[in-house]
Assembly symmetry: C2
Homo-oligomer: 164 residues x 2
DNA sequence: GTTCCTGCAAAGAGTTTGCATTGTG
DNA sequence: CACAATGCAAACTCTTTGCAGGAAC
């Protein structure tokens, strides 16, 4: 699905959600949704806040957090907790189910699909007599190249957890 | 492996680590290791702190955090980030590789083994030309019973993420 | 005696909340 | 013009840090 198609459908979903609950159509909400769907892949709240600032959009942190909660509630955004307590968001409409691989050298995130996980999840659920709802599968990996091609900054991942 | 055997081996590991690096054998370190290996399964730093307090062990938060970092560094404790940003620890010596299932009704945690994950991780690593190091696989599930048998407190898991 | 460790309190990061103001419906 | 949303700042939680006193070696 092309980005602008996903954005259009996301806009419709947001419209419907706003209408159904009698909420307000504020410019901030549309701007944040647009930004997420066209400019950001995996991001945290503060990155989104500063990204908006750099575009000249002065939207407060409170509104950023409120809107992320709203978009999460209506299924347009997903929230993840990655290693070392990083809370990241990503858009969820128009993207197939996927999991994440994180480079421990630079923190960059790759997505992959592993349909085999479905049956595993079902089997575990049966074993515990629980009803599986969703899963998170995160692979932490090193680049095989001596110099990580994604390296951008000092890693937040090699402080304590991965030493001998 | 019995708990006290695991504790003994953990003590030896800690001894060796302390000796190798010229660190100090403080009572706080032994007490925290003992507590983790005999009394706690999955816990956060604050739970450990209060658990020690209730036993009459007044060990400061700073020392609790320092010691958790030390024990993580020498492989006796593992740190996890679960949904909604919970940072939890568990002892790692004498426990086979496992993953976690979290009850969204009460937050209780079950462990399970899924050896099928190894090959999946390897395959994904090959695809991205990266060297997988470790993984986290978390299943979030509901109890099938209408009343969760593990229910202890109001869930921290049904606030935003799991509503319609 | 030297150096490391502890405990306290303050600082810091990330997120949430209270409240006056703004703006949608 | 009612009431929801915004923006700001303060509060809050979890974790880290600085420093003085105390313990290990």
């Amino acid at each position: 699905m092309h980005a602008h198609v996903a954005l259009e459908r996301a806009m419709e979903t947001l419209e419907a959600y706003i209408t159904a609950r009698g909420l307000r159509r504020t410019e901030e909400r549309y701007e944040i949704l647009r930004t997420i769907y066209t400019e950001l892949a995996h991001f945290d709240a503060d990155t989104l806040y500063h990204h908006l600032l750099e575009k000249g959009q002065h939207i407060s942190r409170a509104t950023v957090y409120n809107t992320l909660e709203l978009l999460t509630a209506c299924g347009l955004v997903k929230r993840y907790s990655f290693g070392e307590g990083r809370t990241l968001y990503e858009r969820s409409l128009g993207r197939r189910q996927h999991d994440h691989l994180i480079c421990m050298d630079c923190g960059s995130i790759q997505e992959f699909c592993a349909p085999e996980l479905g049956p595993i999840m079902e089997g575990v659920g049966r074993f515990f007599h629980m009803k599986p709802f969703r899963h998170e599968f995160i692979i932490y990996a090193y680049c095989q190249q001596s110099e990580c091609p994604n390296r951008k900054k000092s890693s937040t991942f090699d402080k304590n957890e991965f030493q001998s």
